[in-house]
C-alpha cells in the first residue's frame, strides 16, 4: 500500500516546479499519486517512461525524473505503442486528458486497449479543455457549461470506463482526486497489471469547469466530486455499473498481452528468443 508523504524526490524533477497548473487544479494531486505508485513499485526511474499528450495533463512528464515523452495531441498512446513494442523491458505510463484520450486520440485509445498493450493509462478527466480555455470536451455532461456550450452541452458524454471495457482493456478503474488515499493504490495496481490498464481520475478544474458551472473553488469541487460519485464493491457487475458515476475497480482480468504475443510469434517463426 503506497503511503502519502513518502520520499518521492527520486521520481520528481523538482527543478521544473512550480508546475504550469492553476491554483486549485487537481492535476498536481494526480501527479503526486503517480509518483507514490512508482515509489511503491520501486521502479528504477531510468526504466520508466512517462508518455504524455497535449493539454494540461500532458505537462505531467516534465515534473518526473524518469524518461519522458511529451508528444502530440491525442497520440501519446501511439508513441507508447511503438516504444513498448521496441522495448518491452521498459515500464510505460501514459498520462492523458479527457480531450486528449477520448476526442482527438479516441482511435489510439480503443486500439491500444484492443491490443491489450502493457501500458498503464492515467486519464485526467476534468470534464473540459483546460489549456485552451474551457471548451466543451467529449466528457462534458449534458447541460454543463463550457465556452463552446454556454447554454449547456447537448451532446451525450463519453464514459471512459465503458469505452475501455468495450475495447478490451484488462484493468479498468475510476477514482477521483477526492479519493486521495485510493488514487495511488489504483495507479500502482494499474502499473503492475500485465496489460492495458486504465485509471480514470475525475479531477477538478476550478478555473474553467468550476467557474462556468458555479461549482466553487477547489475545496467545494472536491466535495462535488465526492457527492457525484459512489464507491463500489470490487469488482462491479455490469448491472451495478449502470446509471451512476461509480468509482472503484471495474475489471481486473488476464488476457494475452500484445508484446508477449508478439514475442511468441517471433519465436514460432524462428527468431532467436533474445532478439
Amino acid at each position: 500500500m503506497p503511503r502519502i508523504g513518502d520520499d518521492l524526490q527520486r521520481y520528481l524533477r523538482t527543478e521544473m516546479m512550480p508546475t504550469v497548473w492553476c491554483p486549485g487544479c487537481g492535476h498536481g494531486n494526480i501527479a503526486r499519486a503517480i509518483a507514490s505508485a512508482l515509489e511503491h513499485g520501486g521502479y528504477d526511474p531510468e526504466r520508466v517512461v512517462l508518455v504524455g499528450g497535449i493539454g494540461c495533463s500532458g505537462r505531467t512528464p516534465f515534473y518526473f525524473n524518469t524518461n519522458a515523452m511529451h508528444t502530440t495531441h491525442g497520440r501519446a498512446l501511439a508513441f507508447a505503442t511503438g516504444l513498448k513494442m521496441a522495448r518491452p523491458d521498459l515500464k510505460v505510463v501514459v498520462v492523458t486528458g479527457d480531450g486528449d484520450a477520448l476526442a482527438i486520440g479516441g482511435n489510439h485509445f480503443i486500439h491500444a486497449a484492443r491490443r491489450n498493450l502493457d501500458v498503464a493509462v492515467v486519464l485526467y478527466n476534468n470534464s473540459i479543455y483546460g489549456m485552451t480555455g474551457g471548451q466543451q470536451a467529449p466528457t462534458t455532461p449534458v447541460g454543463a457549461r463550457s465556452t463552446t456550450s454556454l447554454s449547456g452541452a447537448i451532446e451525450p458524454a463519453f464514459d471512459a470506463v465503458e469505452l475501455a471495457m468495450a475495447a478490451g482493456a484488462t484493468y479498468v478503474a475510476r477514482t477521483t482526486t477526492f479519493d486521495a488515499q485510493e488514487m495511488p493504490v489504483l495507479i500502482a495496481e494499474a502499473i503492475e497489471h500485465p496489460g492495458f490498464a486504465l485509471v480514470e481520475v475525475l479531477t477538478q478544474c476550478p478555473t474553467y469547469y468550476g467557474r462556468l458551472n458555479r461549482l466553487g473553488d477547489a475545496p467545494e469541487m472536491l466535495i462535488w466530486e465526492r457527492d457525484l460519485t459512489e464507491p463500489s464493491p470490487d469488482p462491479l457487475t455490469r448491472e451495478q455499473m449502470a446509471g451512476g458515476r461509480r468509482t472503484g475497480v471495474f475489471r481486473r482480468e488476464v488476457r494475452p498481452e500484445f508484446t508477449r504475443s508478439y514475442a511468441a510469434l517471433c519465436e514460432r517463426l524462428g527468431a532467436a528468443a533474445d532478439a
Binding site: V51, T81, G82, M85, A86, R87, H111, Y262, G270, A271
Partner: protein
C-alpha cells in the same frame, strides 16, 4: 550473394531497410505502398524485429518515433493521403531530433486523387508539409536498384543528422520489377544507448532511453537538455540552423547524376521515373544532332543550388519535366536566378510523359536566346 533476380521497387525498399539494420516498422495499408508493409510483415518477425500495423498513419509515425527512442532503427511507408496525415509527426521528429525514415510512394492527388497512378506531386509537401521551419532531407530514386540504395542511405542520413528522412518514390518505380543482385541482409541489431556526459539534444549524437540518466523528449521548443525553459526558443532555432548547416556540408547530400551533360547546350532537370523518360528523349535528340543532356536529382532536399547554378551558366535553356503542375521547377528557377530560361513541363493526369513529348518540349525551348520567354506549362 543471392544472385540476380527480379525485384519489385517496393520489395527493394523493404530489403534495403533490412540491409540498413532496420528492426522496427509501423505502417497502415495504402496503395501503392502496401508491398512495403506486407514485405516488412513477412521479413521482420522471423528476424526478431518488430512489425506493427497501426490504426492510422498518424499512429504509424508516432509508433516509429516512440520506437526510435527505445533504440530501434525504425521506418514507415505510405502514400499521399497518409503522408499528409504524417506531417505533424515529421515536425515532431524534426524538433526532437529523432532519426527515422518515412517512405512516400507518391500517387496522384490532391485528396484520394489517383490511387495506383503515378505522380510526383509531394515534392514540396516533403519539404514544407509540416508547420514551422525545419531542415529537410528528401531522397528519390528512378530504379529498383536506386530505391534499394536510397533506402539504405536514408537510414545513414537519419542517423548522421538526427532527423526524419523522407524517401519519395512514385508508383512506377515502386511497382516495376527489375533484375538486381542484392546481398543477403545482416541480422537486425538494436541501437544501444551511449553513456555520455553530453546533453541529449543539440549538436550531440542521438542516444535512446537508457543512457545513464533520464531523457525528456518534447515537441515544445527546448534546450539541449530537452527541457522547455527560458531561452529554449533560441536553443531550438540554433539546433535547426546548425542541422541545416551540417547538411549543406555533407557530401552524401550532394546527390545527382549527369547524363550526356558535358557538352550539352540544353539541360533537362528531372528526378524519379521522369528521369528515365528524359534519358530516352535525350538519346532521340542526340541522334538528331541536338546537344541535350540530363541532370538527375537523387536528393531533392537540400536542393543542389550550386550545381544547378553552375549548370545554368553553361547551358542556353533548362527544361524541368515532372509529374505535377510545377514544383521542383521553383527551386530550379531560384538557383538559376535568370542566367537562362527555365521551362516547366508539368502533367498531373496519372500518366507518364512519353519520350517524344519531352523531346518536343526541348525543341520548343527558347534556346540560343539570351533571355527567352519563361514559359510555364498551363
Amino acid at each position: 550473394m543471392d544472385g540476380m533476380r527480379l525485384v519489385m521497387g517496393n520489395e527493394a525498399v523493404a530489403l534495403g531497410a533490412l540491409a540498413a539494420g532496420c528492426d522496427f516498422y509501423a505502417g497502415y495499408p495504402i496503395t501503392p505502398a502496401s508491398e512495403i508493409l506486407e514485405g516488412m510483415a513477412r521479413l521482420l518477425p522471423p528476424r526478431g524485429g518488430v512489425f506493427l500495423q497501426m490504426e492510422d498513419e498518424l499512429g504509424a509515425l508516432a509508433a516509429v518515433i516512440g520506437a526510435a527512442w527505445g533504440g530501434a532503427r525504425a521506418m514507415t511507408a505510405t502514400s499521399g493521403p497518409g503522408f499528409s496525415l504524417m506531417q505533424e509527426h515529421i515536425g515532431y521528429a524534426a524538433i526532437t531530433q529523432t532519426p527515422c525514415v518515412v517512405v512516400d510512394v507518391q500517387r496522384g492527388g490532391p485528396s484520394t486523387g489517383l490511387p495506383t497512378l503515378p505522380a510526383q506531386g509531394d515534392a514540396m509537401q516533403a519539404r514544407w508539409g509540416t508547420h514551422g521551419d525545419r531542415p529537410a532531407i528528401v531522397l528519390t530514386a528512378a530504379s529498383v536498384r536506386g530505391a534499394y540504395e536510397a533506402t539504405i542511405q536514408a537510414f545513414t542520413l537519419a542517423e548522421a543528422h538526427r532527423q526524419p528522412v523522407v524517401l519519395l518514390l512514385d508508383a512506377v518505380v515502386a511497382h516495376m520489377r527489375e533484375p538486381v543482385d542484392l546481398p543477403p541482409p545482416p541480422a537486425p541489431s538494436q541501437r544501444r544507448p551511449v553513456r555520455s556526459p553530453e546533453p541529449p539534444f543539440g549538436e550531440h549524437p542521438f542516444t535512446p532511453f537508457g543512457a545513464g540518466r533520464p531523457i525528456v523528449v518534447t515537441g515544445l521548443s527546448h534546450d539541449d537538455e530537452g527541457l522547455p525553459r527560458t531561452g529554449s526558443a533560441r536553443a531550438s532555432e540554433r539546433m535547426l540552423r546548425a542541422t541545416e548547416a551540417r547538411m549543406a556540408a555533407d557530401p552524401a547530400l550532394a546527390g545527382l547524376d549527369r547524363y550526356r551533360l558535358d557538352d550539352a547546350q540544353v539541360a533537362i532537370v528531372s528526378y524519379g521515373v521522369t528521369a528515365r523518360v528524359a534519358r530516352a528523349a535525350i538519346d532521340t535528340l542526340r541522334q538528331a544532332g541536338l546537344p541535350v543532356g540530363g541532370l538527375e536529382l537523387t536528393v531533392l532536399w537540400p536542393f543542389p543550388e550550386r550545381e544547378v547554378a553552375d549548370l545554368a551558366a553553361r547551358v542556353d535553356a533548362i527544361l524541368v519535366p515532372e509529374l505535377n503542375l510545377g514544383q521542383m521547377v521553383l527551386p530550379v528557377r531560384a538557383a538559376v536566378a535568370g542566367r537562362c530560361p527555365v521551362t516547366s513541363l508539368g502533367r498531373a493526369d496519372g500518366t507518364l510523359f512519353q519520350p517524344d513529348e519531352v523531346a518536343e518540349a526541348v525543341r520548343a525551348l527558347p534556346a540560343g536566346t539570351a533571355m527567352g520567354r519563361d514559359q510555364r506549362h498551363a
